[in-house]
Amino acid sequence: MVTLGHFLLLSGLLMVIGLYGVLTRRNLIAVLMSVEILLNAAALAFASVAAYRDPQIFAGQVFALFIIVVAAAELSIGFAILLNVYRTHGAVTDDAISEMRG
């Protein structure tokens, strides 16, 4: 039987994978993809907890929808920034944009 614990475990795994991607990947497109995984981990957690705990109220699912919308917007802005980074720096790795190093 699939319990809430399984869903949260999956969500946690996705979270760790996303974090690992964000912290370690050099390629900024891969980083954005990792951020997507992070967001989906959060959306999954919301939706599953809502379905199991209080099926009459769809607050968690609404949250998931919101996250999807925000993720779409964030991606479009992120890619626009990356496009400009590529134009100015000739690459989309985080080495290329480390001018703020102290």
Binding site: V22, L23, D94, I97, R101, G102
Partner: protein, 667 residues
Amino acid sequence: MSYVELSYWIPLLPALGFVVLILFGRSLPGRSSGWIATAVMAVVAVLSLGLLYDVMLAAPGWDLAALLGGHHEEALAKAGSPDFPFRLEWNWLAIRGEAGIPLVIYIDALAAVVTAMVALASLFIHLFSVGYMDGEERYPTFFAYLQLFSAAMLAFVLAGNFFHSLLSWEVMGLMSYLLIGFLYKKKTAQQAQKKAFITTKLADLGFMLGLFWLYLLVGNFDLADLASEQTLAMIGTGAAAAVGLLVFVAAMGKSAQFPLHVWLLDAMEGPTPVSAMIHAATMVAAGVYLTARFYPLLIHGDVLWVVALVGAFTALFAAILAPAFADVKKILAWSTVSQLGYMFLGLGVFGWAAAMFHLVAHAFFKALLFLGSGSMIHGAKTQDIFEMDQLKKYMPWTYWTFLIGALALMGIPPFAGFWSKDLILHAAEEHAKALWLMGLTAAFFTAFYTTRMIVIAFHKPAMPSPWKAAEWTRGAPWLNLGPDEAEPDPSPPEGHHPHESGVEMITALVALAALSFFVGLWGSPLGGYGLLTLVYWGEMPEILPASKLMMGYLTGTLVALSGVALAWFWYSTDPLRQRAPVWLTRMLQRRFYIDEFYYQVVGRIAQAPTYVLAFVDRYLVDGLVDLVGYSTQVASAFLRHLQSGRFATYALYMLLGALALYVGGVR
């Protein structure tokens, strides 16, 4: 309305003139600022002559025959008016009904005579400057300064309260500083103004200490009160000596007496009218005047011999130095130092009236000589007497007026200096033969260097100045300036012919020549001793009949004439011949190395404590401040690595932060 009631306008008018000129002078066209200042001084001169007239009316009159015959009890011909000496008083600094320090104008015969002298000399110096300073940058500022200088001196002379004497004394010090450095772009002028200010300021410390000590003893600053028996009884002999000497130190500084004479020579860096102002009308006269005012205290403390000794030594010392100089202004400066020495000698040997006579006579003939030298410099475009080209031919007016001043300086009868110097020498002879001999020797040198100056500058054609190429004249070591820092004195341009000066300047010269002559007569037996029966010390004037002075007159004239003869003999034949050994000339031109000694030794000793203070400042105070900055730098050297420039690092920090918050929240 009498002139006495108007007397407060005498210092006030030039002070107002200063305010007007300093505020609006720049917007006045052309020379009008000079004319305004001269007009102000003319009004002041009228007021002070009126004041002198009032004082002569109010002063006691004396029967000359009885005085000369020694019948002292019958000598009083006319009792003085009851309110003489005049006194005007206002409340000042009266806090919560206390007495405070009243503002007093005290007018006795001496104050009136010196006021008239200052006003007249200053008036003609102003008039001369109208022409002399023409085309000068900061023309209105110059006149503004002259105005405040005159105002300060007039306030000083009229002050009936030593506190006000001190105030105007300090203003004079400031104005001399500003005027000596008027040509502020010259490095020598900058050094000279500092030197003058610091030297006189150091001496002023004596005035302040003496004055405050006197206040502790007596409880007021009143000038007239100091002469009274009750006041003197309150002061012990030792205290009187100390206070008197402290004040005398200030007078030595202001009147350039050895060893504080060093500033006066370098004060020649100012424009020539300033030299005339400092040497005749104001500044140096102030020191003598102050000593004359502190006379009761000096007698009470029995320290007049110090005054006499300093005076006699300075008179001789400066007269010996003067013949070694080629700069006309410097020769005159030494002669001022020397003549002031005579005045102090006179004061020191109880020749109070003689000293005051010499003060007034000297003011006029020295103003005349300085303005004359200004006219020479203006015409010849050089200050070096050797480079001046037969000025007698080109500048007859300057020549004849200068000659009158020079004869007065040398003490040739019947010119002013003869009568006054001889009275001083007579008093010295009765007091101490050694002082008298010093005075006579100085008189010989005075005649010598004056004749030398006149022969070379006025009678001889231009010739190369003998010492301009000498290595010891390079730079200005007496101003602590090296060879590269001081410009050599300018020579006249090629093919320049001297020309007579403008009408304002000539008018001033002629007026001063006449004044100096008549002032000399006024105090002489020929003029009925007018000045000496007006200005005297004690109960009644002490006047000697001409028969008693005849020996002195003859000796003085002979000594002066022998000086003239020697100089004439030497310099009219071969002016360029080096007669003194070179080492002596060098030593004299370097002023016995006294100035350099001050810079190198006294200056260093005075600086020694500042090295300790500098160490404390640099390493303790600054060290603390530096420590704060340094520790910040060290900390940031580590912390800066936190900012890697990689967003992944920042993301990690956020994660760690979030975890920390979580952990903290759970607990």
